[in-house]
């Protein structure tokens, strides 16, 4: 195994932070002629300013490397990617974490926890498990294997993600882009990744590390940041969307609709819109359930699609009040152990306005209680569902519900955005309840302890993450 390339992408520019190169192109392409910068967290991200015409060269180069990749065996691909993933957190020192932290605007402790948690899905075992979960016979990714099913006993099938996958990342959760890149590489697709502004450091670092371990596979990966959706990048985006085989899009409905409108029909779109995580909490062992509840709120500072925003508490308002206090206590501990994002004045202003608004409503109606840290840290609100508005930061809404049926009724209103449902403090949940959650749009029902970090093989937004990237062929 080759040593991991530890070259930092950040150029230190003196005391006031540095800048980060938000790009990594295949080596045979000419270096960028001009750059632009954008502020992301505490860093300036520098990115090339290529012409739309350059998209053709980039795609062509990645396409050639992708063809070489498609000839590799799946075991080999898993081994390479897994070795990079395993080395990733181990080989990173404080400066490396500091760079990711500064880019994402997360605290160092949070950055370590997030990167280590994400990287658990990037090991050889985890990736092999992911491939097996979707392709019980992994060699189907190498060529035709006996496929069974209809059409007679001689049916053979193969799956391939060959070509180029374009990833449009969202925001500042480190690791989202890397996971998406790994998925494409596992199905032997070349990768062009446009990370979210706050996820540039890790995406570039991964691409660089892969190139250090396996230069051939590394040449099938390019990273390029640009401000997605801005008018001056429209021609570039259209050019890329018209040349790739598939695009994986993370972001708001506006972002997704914008990509849909510009992608040709021949480009397959895999969409991951913004999501809402909830939990259903029973009154059993309230201290035990408050701990993972607080972690589900604090990790990612509520920016992850799996983050839990609303807790439906089964057990009456008085018990809910006591549970809120326990949740608040645990969030206060995490405020110290896992400090939140350093807020900007605007964030603090929003928080004062938000808390004041809720406090005033509680003063007027009496149906609403607020617990909060002195500073930016965290807020717990006991309220009815109609009051709920996720405004970011460590904000937990607790909504008392009388029964599982009432909980399902309330969840129905969240159906369009529902994703992860965490469970805690409940007696064993019946199949009927889980099926009802599924019917409402939930794609992941797990113990609250397992909410923050899904396994590599999780059914992301209700789909098979590798299955969405491949095409099948049958031979009879």
């Amino acid at each position: 195994m080759k040593a991991m390339n530890k070259g930092s992408a950040t150029r230190r520019a003196g005391g006031q932070g540095g800048f980060l190169d938000g790009w990594l192109w295949p080596r045979q392409l000419p270096p960028p002629a001009s750059f632009r910068e954008v502020r992301a967290g505490d860093l300036r991200v520098r990115y090339p300013n290529p012409s739309p015409g350059f998209a053709a060269s980039l795609v062509s180069s990645l396409g050639k490397a992708g063809r070489r990749l498609s000839a590799r065996r799946i075991d080999d691909v898993i081994a390479v990617l897994g070795s990079v993933g395993e080395a990733f957190p181990l080989d990173m020192d404080d400066n490396d974490f500091r760079e990711i932290s500064a880019n994402a605007g997360l605290s160092m402790a949070m950055t370590r926890t997030v990167v280590n948690g994400m990287a658990r899905s990037w090991t050889r075992d985890a990736l092999a498990g992911l491939v097996r979960a979707e392709f019980p016979e992994p060699r189907v990714l190498d060529g035709f294997v006996a496929g069974g099913g209809g059409g007679g006993g001689g049916r053979r099938v193969a799956a391939s993600g060959r070509g180029l996958t374009f990833h449009i990342g969202a925001g500042s959760v480190p690791g989202v882009t890397v996971m998406s890149m790994i998925r494409a590489l596992l199905v032997k697709s070349a990768v062009l990744a446009k990370p979210g502004a706050g996820d540039v450091a890790l995406a570039v670092r991964f691409a660089r590390a892969l190139r250090g371990v396996d230069s051939s596979m590394g040449e099938a990966v390019a990273v390029q940041y640009w401000p997605g959706g801005s008018p001056e990048w429209d021609a570039w985006e259209r050019s890329v969307l018209g040349r790739v085989d598939r695009a994986v899009v993370y972001g708001s409905n506006t972002t997704i609709e914008s990509v849909r409108a510009r992608a040709p029909a021949s480009t397959r779109l895999v969409e991951h819109p913004h999501r809402l995580g909830v939990a259903v909490v029973g009154p059993e062992s309230p201290s035990a359930s408050a701990r993972p509840a607080a972690e589900a709120v604090a990790l990612f500072d509520q920016k992850g699609c799996v983050s839990t925003h609303i807790f439906f508490f089964l057990g009456g308002k008085r018990r809910a009040l006591r549970w809120c206090q326990k949740l608040a206590n645990r969030l206060a501990e995490l405020d110290r152990d896992l400090p939140p994002t350093e807020p900007q004045p605007g964030d603090l202003s929003d928080l004062h306005q938000f808390r004041g608004r809720l406090t005033m409503k509680g003063a007027a109606s009496g149906g609403l209680e607020v617990w909060s840290s002195d500073g930016f840290g965290w807020t717990v609100v006991l309220a009815s569902l109609e009051d709920v508005t996720p405004v970011g930061g460590r904000l937990a809404w607790v909504v008392p519900v009388a029964s599982q049926e009432a909980c399902l009724d309330a969840l129905a209103s969240l159906s369009p955005a529902l994703q992860t449902v965490g469970l805690a403090g409940l007696p064993p949940v019946g199949e009927g309840f889980v099926r009802a959650l599924f019917g409402l749009g939930a794609s992941r029902v797990v113990p609250l302890t397992r909410v923050p970090f899904p396994g590599a093989d999780w059914l992301h937004d209700g789909s098979r993450p590798l299955g969405e990237l491949v095409r099948w062929c049958e031979v009879l």
């Binding site: 809402l276 004062h352 809720l358």
Partner: protein, 398 residues
């Protein structure tokens, strides 16, 4: 007039209106002390401090008055009492009274006593249901708070003027505090007549502007939001319409969210080039629905260059810049979140925390540094605006 020996909010409001109207007035206009019907104790709800020119609002006198009003609000308004908590019952200084964020005006009517009118903030991304409401106990108090201030900053040495208003007529937008103020101005004795040439439905009537601007030789006082001004200049395209000599302009940042932030330097340059009104005759009014008093950044006709301007409220308002994290007061020159204590808000709540960033100045003024916009919730999680649009809306449409 009193409840348990303390003044009622109505008495406070009435006395404040009289007091505000003395600002800048001579001794002959100062209110006389009045006696109670029994003739044994003063009716004046503030005690004896404020008789005469209101320019005597020393810090000490302001503090006494602010705390007295606070006691009335605390006693009379159970919602505010619960919001503040018991520890705010007796405060050592007005600065110890917790400010109410402007967003709280979106949740509940904050009214001490009864209200004569309800002014609403402009719409936001949350839609009209989430507009802030300022329940105004006395329109006369609003007029009193506004009048001497706009007279000083807009009409001083003006002689007779014609008002051209790009702010809608108050009858067409009765919920707009700005329109109400434009209505007050139109009734001033210097005003020969008012052309209302903006409606929310149709925007600026450029033809009416041309006609009004060139109809006579008396100077014009043009009242406008930045939004409407930009629309006017764009509607006129390259046309130059020189307003009569001595014309003045008040612009304000009304109708937030309906137009991109306008750089004031560029706007003032266009006003000079296209309308012939120099920078010294253009002043900015800083006001908000949640406050009944306004601040100006100069006196029309003698306003300083834009780069050196700062806003001043009348003396019954105190402004502080607060540390965005702790809300501790910051010294002059250090930017923070602006909070205003406006005695004219006696019938609602006086201490208001805004979303504006700025710094105070040694002379009691303040410099605005823009709006403290929070960072967008970045990631894969549903943000508030999307939540309201993508989750709440489908629910309401079912």
């Amino acid at each position: 007039m009193t409840v348990e020996g303390a003044p009622t909010i109505e008495a406070v409001v009435g006395e404040l209106a009289r007091l505000f109207r003395t600002w800048g007035a001579g001794a002959e206009r100062r209110p006389k002390r009045r006696q109670s019907p029994e003739g044994t104790e003063p009716v004046d709800p503030f005690g004896t401090e404020f008789h005469g020119d209101a320019s005597a609002f020393t810090d000490e006198a302001f503090d006494r008055l602010a705390r007295r009003i606070h006691r009335v609000q605390f006693r009379s308004n159970p919602v505010l009492r619960r919001f503040w908590g018991e520890r705010a019952r007796d405060v050592a200084s007005w600065e110890d009274i917790p400010p109410v964020p402007t967003a709280a005006f979106k949740e509940v009517p904050i009214v001490t006593g009864t209200s004569e009118a309800v002014f609403c903030t402009s719409g936001t991304s949350e839609g009209p249901r989430r507009r802030g409401e300022h329940h105004v106990g006395s329109l006369d108090l609003y007029w009193a708070a506004a009048q001497q201030n706009y007279r000083r900053h807009l009409l001083k040495n003006s002689g007779s003027v014609r008002v051209v208003s790009l702010i809608p007529h108050p009858d067409s937008v009765p919920s707009s505090s700005l329109a109400a103020m434009a209505g007050f101005i139109s009734r001033e004795p210097e005003v020969l007549g008012t052309a209302w040439i903006f409606s929310e439905a149709r925007g600026v009537d450029a033809a009416a502007f041309r006609k009004a601007a060139t109809a006579d030789r008396e100077p014009i006082l043009l009242l406008a939001t930045a939004f409407a001004l930009v629309q006017l200049l764009e509607t006129l395209k390259g046309e130059e319409i020189r307003l009569p000599e001595g014309s003045r302009l008040m612009e304000t940042g009304g109708f937030k969210g309906r137009v991109a932030e306008v750089a004031r330097e560029g706007l003032y340059r266009r006003i000079r080039n296209r309308l012939g009104v120099s920078e010294s005759h253009v002043v900015n009014e800083y006001g908000m629905t949640e406050l009944l008093s306004q601040a100006y950044d100069g006196e029309a006709g003698t306003a300083p260059p834009l780069s050196g301007r700062k806003h001043h409220f009348p003396p019954w308002v105190r402004t502080r810049a607060l540390d965005p994290a702790s809300l501790a007061p910051l010294p002059p020159g250090v930017p923070g979140l602006l909070a205003h204590y406006d005695l004219a808000n006696a019938a609602s709540v006086c201490h208001v925390l805004t979303e504006d960033l700025g710094e105070t100045t040694e002379d009691g003024g303040f410099r605005l540094a823009g709006r403290a916009a929070g960072a967008e919730l970045r990631g894969c999680s549903l943000a508030a605006e999307s939540f309201l649009r993508e989750v709440r809306k489908p629910l309401s449409e079912r």
